[in-house]
Amino acid sequence: MSATPYNFAYLDEQTKREIRRALLKALAIPGHQVPFASREMPLARGWGTGGMQVTAAVIGRDDVLKVIDQGADDTTNAVSIRQFFTRVAGVRTTTRTEEATIIQTRHRIPETPLRPGQIMVYQVPQPEPLWRLEPSRAETRRLHALAEYGIMHVKLYEDIARHGRITLAYDYPVLVHGRYVMAPSPIPAFDNPKLHRSPAIHLFGAGREKRLYAVPPHTDVVSLAFEDHPFRPWKADAACMLCGATDSYLDEILIDDRGTRRFICSDTDWCERRRAKGKAA
């Protein structure tokens, strides 16, 4: 018996191998959902465990881990997941995007451009992009197998009929490698273009739904739209009150009890780096 109560990165080697095998399959068929035997993970209630299982399966001793929740490194969830992997894997952690080799995320892709060799790990609540349109699992599998994606556009058609434009702002469906329609997880549509031909590896884990999927480097990821209503990633038409950025994804906050609203960068690391470089507003 070893002295530590856990194997490296908590999951046993056999489990990690099974997850990695599923991930390799997912990388070989970009955007295709691969079933896997999801395990229980401790902590992170309300976060979901799919992303953590993927991180546990791919992390090595030399990795440097960054964890973001919304865009922030300092939420309770982000901090406790970072602490968890420090404890069970003894890896270094960071808040800096460019230093990280693995970035476990929920809700955002960092503003700092990703580089080759980096791995993004997404926590996914609902991996099936067709789930609201087609309740039967057997039928959605068939629709994916035959690339019958007409119903995907029904949702967008109705959005335009109702609002005059596509208002879908999160988990905006994409076509991967010209083949599979994929849910990019609840990232803002603003982040979708960052997936397109990204040099990084993107791994998606849905624990409850027991599905993994992936986008390998340099893969086409195209947001669905109509010819006369092209995809337009939405962001607030404002500047960050801290760093002055106008090209980053902004969170709206209340700054007093009279309802005064301001905007700040959702990506806290990016905002801090800009301020450190003297780009304050």
């Binding site: 035959l146 019958e148 007409g150 119903i151 556009h153 029904v154 058609y157 109705e158 335009i160 009929a161 109702r162 109509f226 010819e227 006369d228 209503h229």
Partner: protein, 258 residues
């Protein structure tokens, strides 16, 4: 009419365990023809129609279809991707219950537009325009385009289902008791509409019905089914006015009695 059938069904059988729901049925459907399949409840009409469409797999026999896209194909052995492509682009199925053929939680416009989108249309304005044209053609107020079909009457739902089927300009339309669940006055209006659209579009149609009045109004030819078998086939007027088989005679007389 051209010199080859659009659809040739030969010795088709569908068994459910020991029951031969369809038992050695053969017939041709010619381009532009409306064929009615009549018979009392349980005689195998719906099963035959569903087998032709590929909703269920026949036990034996052949179904040859002359496709625009693939030429002549044997549907009983056609792979699923191609069969579904044909269903999306060349065929339509009108269900007896419009709820089986509509997405009730999506708008009328989306229901009509979905078929266009499934066939590859990606221009919102064109899809919208075609949905409007088709709502009008089936006599649904264009102002209802963004309403949910569950707010529609039964007759409107059925007309919406027909718009959804016809919007892609199918070559072959299969209808299962299209006026089945409706009030008599609503039935008459719907039948009239179907007859007009079928003539305008030159559709090839197989319509299943237990109502000989529907067959009389829509079809040029009739097959009479009894316990899975075709017992009589012929021109509509001949079969209805001068039935030869005792079962057809019974069917016709019961309609006269009604």
């Amino acid at each position: 009419m051209t010199d080859a059938p659009l659809l040739s069904v030969h010795d088709l059988s569908v068994r459910f365990g020991a029951l031969a729901a369809v038992d050695g049925v053969s017939f041709d459907l010619w381009p532009g023809e409306v064929l009615a399949i009549v018979g009392e409840s349980g005689s195998g009409k719906t099963t035959l129609l569903r087998a032709i469409h590929g909703f269920l797999r026949p036990t034996a026999g052949s179904i040859r279809y002359r496709s625009d896209r693939f030429g002549e194909v044997e549907l009983t052995v056609l792979d699923e991707p191609r069969r579904r492509l044909l269903a999306r682009t060349e065929w339509g199925f009108v269900h007896q219950n419009p709820r089986d053929g509509l997405r009730l939680s999506h708008s009328a416009g989306a229901n009509v537009g979905e078929r266009l989108m499934a066939a590859g249309a990606r221009h919102w304005g064109n899809i919208r325009a075609q949905a409007l044209v088709w709502l009008d053609r089936v006599e649904i107020d264009q102002a209802r385009i963004d309403d949910l079909p569950r707010t529609f009457s039964g007759g409107m739902q059925q007309r919406l289902q027909i718009a959804r089927v016809l919007v892609i300009n199918p070559r072959l339309v299969l209808m299962d008791e299209p006026t089945g669940g409706l009030d008599v006055s609503v039935q008459a209006r719907l039948l009239d509409l179907i007859r007009r659209l079928v003539a305008e579009l030159g559709l090839s149609v197989i319509v299943v019905t237990h109502d000989l009045g529907v067959a009389r109004l829509l079809a040029q030819r009739i097959l009479v089914m009894q316990r899975g078998r075709v017992v009589e086939a012929g021109l509509t007027d001949q079969v209805l006015d001068d039935p030869q088989h005792p079962y057809s005679q019974l069917l016709v007389s019961s309609v006269l009695a009604a």
